[in-house]
Subunit: 346 residues, 4 copies
């Protein structure tokens, strides 16, 4: 396979025209540095963050124009002269914060996110430093693998980054967004019990099929936190809560959490704006943790778990072709999706 000199790519040119600022245009295939890996990208997935960036609603700094999307997957087509970890033919995923290798984020690594600070994945070919890629789980196709960099790593970080989940613990996930579904799948694979919330019978059935032990309809049961707590052994509450929700979910999470339990705030991704005071965390003797995706080390651990348990990400039945990426943004903005929304890249 010969690598062309130019390629198609979706560029965020500005944020004042919303998704119309996304422009599909020709650009050069990047030059391969000594430590770079050239990837033929085959798929990308979208996160709420990508929509917010395009809409000018992202609260963190970005640096436009940039190729859109943090989440890509593909195949290695060439490696720089000093690359040691990858070879031609390897299937790979992108790392969200390219500089976040291990440990906690730093002031430097927080500014290395694809699709905002660095050129993203919505293009045919990308050159990434080898430290900015991980091997894709062998059980996944490119579309599935493209869903991992942001949402899945965030979930993994929530469950394993501070107080690793143990079999027999109880996890609460909210709704059917990407982070929540990954948390459900990871928790079940790890021998935990899962309570999921949703507002529709259809989604409840899907959550059950994915392994949820209990599903609570939060429309029917606005005080679902207390209900969830009662489901846990001795009514002690949940060990881990993945808090992605809107205004009122935090109150319920605080009602459902166990002493010493962890509520992980995936706020921005889901648009959460909890109004509860920090003081509540004290009264509930629990831990609130903000996370921002995760490190390469965590992503490698996660990929190993996905492969070992043959976990397949939930992908919306509609996968958009490369030239309709803007339609994909609009479809997701209209909340027509279930699971991860993906784009196939030519």
């Amino acid at each position: 396979m010969s690598v062309p000199s130019t390629q198609k790519q979706w560029v965020i040119t500005g944020t004042d025209k919303g998704f119309d600022g996304l422009v599909f245009k020709e650009g050069p295939v990047p030059k391969l540095g000594e430590n770079d890996v050239l990837v033929k990208l085959h798929a990308a997935s979208l996160n709420y963050r990508d929509l917010a960036i395009a809409k000018g609603m992202y609260p963190f700094p970005i640096d436009l124009p940039k190729v859109a999307s943090s989440d890509g997957a593909g195949e290695v087509v060439a490696v720089g002269s000093r690359v040691t970890q990858f070879k031609k033919g390897d299937k790979v995923c992108t790392l969200f914060n390219q500089g976040h290798q291990y440990g906690e984020l730093t002031i430097e690594s927080v500014g290395t996110a694809l699709g905002g600070m660095r050129e993203g994945a919505l293009r045919s070919y990308g050159a990434f430093p080898e430290t900015g890629l991980v091997k894709a789980p062998s059980n996944l196709n490119h579309v599935e693998a493209s869903t991992l960099p942001c949402a899945a790593v965030t979930s993994w970080n929530a469950l394993y980054g501070l107080k690793p989940l143990k079999p027999g613990e109880w996890v609460i996930v909210q709704g059917t967004g990407g982070v929540s579904l990954f948390a459900l799948q990871f928790a079940k694979a790890a021998g935990a019990k899962v309570i999921a919330t949703t507002s529709s019978a259809d989604k409840a059935a899907t959550l059950k099929k994915l392994g949820a032990d209990h599903v609570i309809n939060y429309r029917d049961d606005p005080n679902w936190g207390a209900t969830a707590r009662k489901l846990t052994p001795d009514g002690a509450g949940a060990d881990h809560i993945i808090e992605v929700g809107g205004e009122h979910t935090m109150t319920q999470s605080l009602s459902a959490v166990k002493y010493g339990g962890i509520i992980t705030l995936i706020g921005f991704l889901g648009g959460a704006k909890p109004k509860d005071s920090i003081l509540e965390a004290l009264n509930k003797i629990c831990t609130l943790r903000g996370v921002f995706v995760g490190s390469r080390e965590q992503m490698e651990d996660m990929c190993r778990a996905i492969e070992a348990n043959d976990i397949h990400p939930v992908v919306d039945k509609k996968v958009f072709p490369f030239d309709q990426a803007k339609e994909a943004y609009e479809y997701m903005w209209a909340q027509k999706h279930f699971g991860k929304l993906c784009i196939k890249i030519d």
Copy 2:
């Protein structure tokens, strides 16, 4: 149900006559202290250790005569005036080292084992301090619950006591003894990959049914350590090895272990006598760990995992009646059992 004043019990009266030192006799139902719980024992299980004690082959101090067996399960029939954690009707298991509540063993707690230092479980009624019991997983019957105190807690400690097992890690278990089968079941429930070894096709089939991803016949493949290593991703080796074996297994374990991996030595229980020098651990950059059952905190965590994952211990199809406990010892000594050998208590 009224509690009688006397009961039947199997007492280890001495070790010079082997199993004939086990005497089935009448004794008083113990007096209930303020912090004690009176348990109507319904089942007990045997460990290799119990056989060794009766045969005078146990290398650690014991204090005879004592009621035999460390592993019992039953129902609470009365509680002392200051008991807070249990009530009548609760189903419970005994804690192996009665004084081992949390953290590491101490010089004091190591001398509090049932069926050797303290009166054991092979009797109709036992009084135990409330700290010497845990609630049985609700999914188990008494016979199943009686298998947990020694073998299952040992496995749990191996997998979670030092470097907690994570989903996607690889575990090697050897043979079909109680500790190995529990480790297989726990590891699979936790999303790990498991390689098991055995010497028979029948047992291999059972191991597969229990979830083993790979089974190696160590008769056919004496260098099974290298074979196991090749099965792991990139041939990196296993993260956890439960080493219970005989003279030659340690060499294979050292060949199969990953850098930084843990080989847990369950030596005595299985009679292991590894001849390898400690120096090998250095050359393999791995960790060797001796464990001696585990704490009450660990047993509670384990019971939660058993219940959440509906794990059922593997029990030999032959469950002995109470008055044939000596036959049970002989049956197990002759290695006729598969899985845990249990005795129903009247």
Copy 3:
């Protein structure tokens, strides 16, 4: 030494008259249960919580009348027939939540606090279950040892309960309350760097003497969070912040914390009422943790560290005699104290 049948004790008789509800009266020396230890109490210390209970300002349930104070130290004078961990002559401290042995608090153990739910330490003799005591560090006298159960264990839990402090990390402590001073001493003993805040030059000098690497006067520098951050390597922020303050400290803490850092909320003890939204925790990618004292296991670890490093708690120069305990409450309420306020018990 013979044990009398009656003794003097300070009883919280009600909360409607403030400290006048504290009554010094004669009561029986408690009967010794089988698992109990009889302690001749020699000292008690006060916490803000004790004042709040007496004033009717404590937000958690209490059960009056009760002997006051959670924090006592003394000498064992007798042990129940089944006590194994203590003997006559041992020097001991009380455990705050008597039922909190290991792991996280539970619904049961949260209701076992001395001086509120159970009879406290402001009496000549107390009988405690052996699990409700720990051996006092051998380097401390009774007055010093009496300061440990609440404030010191809270600090230890903050620094070691979730993400154990490592040498070289940076800790911020606020003001000169008991928890803050213990955190300063523990952090320095453990090889961490400490930034302390205060509003007076005198206290700043004392904080420096206790080992603080930097002291910031928060009156002169209301944006002390940014100042503290700049003191840390690369301006990355603090790894641990002990948040005990008032309305405005949380804003500063969120400004000073590192990515992945932990802000431990010791809110009630210091009367904190942070108004910041939980959402801030997300934006700062940090962890907020509420703690409520700590377990017996943690207290034992802490006592070992105190002894090994010959740490001496900071005790106010005025130690009140037993019959003036009410004056001690008033002195502390008027904030005349520096360090822990103690009462010698006859």
Copy 4:
């Protein structure tokens, strides 16, 4: 400062002539890759491993000829076009296994050691990938900083890599080799108690000066393991033992270790050849761990602790000039050194 095109370097040309295989010769200053950092090396330190390599006694694969020594320190004089973590003027140390960034060693990273698999530090200028360097603690001069990559990181890994040392724990260090002295200094900075062994009164005095709480003369007291155990609280034994010794030390270590304690085997560096069977680890219910230096993440943590506690490595009073490196090897081979042996590089 202009960078010359050639430089002096000490090359291991072969192992059949012992130290005469070390040749001081001119070579090119390496070309700077995009991700490389050019370092003007100012000092190197020697480890027993370097002597063994030169003598042909190293049991692991090496790839000659190579510039000698794994341990170097110096100043950045130029950076490649894509370097982000370093700039001109930064003071740096080399990373021992250049590929070991985080987590455990891998099959790949174990083959990336300087001075054996890759060009080492005994040269005026070295080009290293930026991931192969760490910033030197600001309190150290170049000679001191050059002692860190192998011995210090090994000690840090021993104390923090598996079960992080906590204040109040007890550590045993053996002799006065580099790893042992670092372990002593790290443990004291972290609030631990330290028992050191030695055979001379002079060295005992130095160990005391460095902070050792107890020093045992192992010549006078061949059963020093039991003596050490008695020094620990309740005779429970040591939490961490840094085992570097010869034939008989392991027996003593096994006698001195606590239940659940860790004996870290620094065997090769000190030439240890323990004859004890692995079975002993079981009987002592302890953990034996082999380590091979440590990761970049660990080295960064360590440097932070060194800086925060102003730890200064123990350097032999004789620092050799660059052109006498061979004499340094001989001096160290003759065991004339105390602490780390260093070479100043022109």
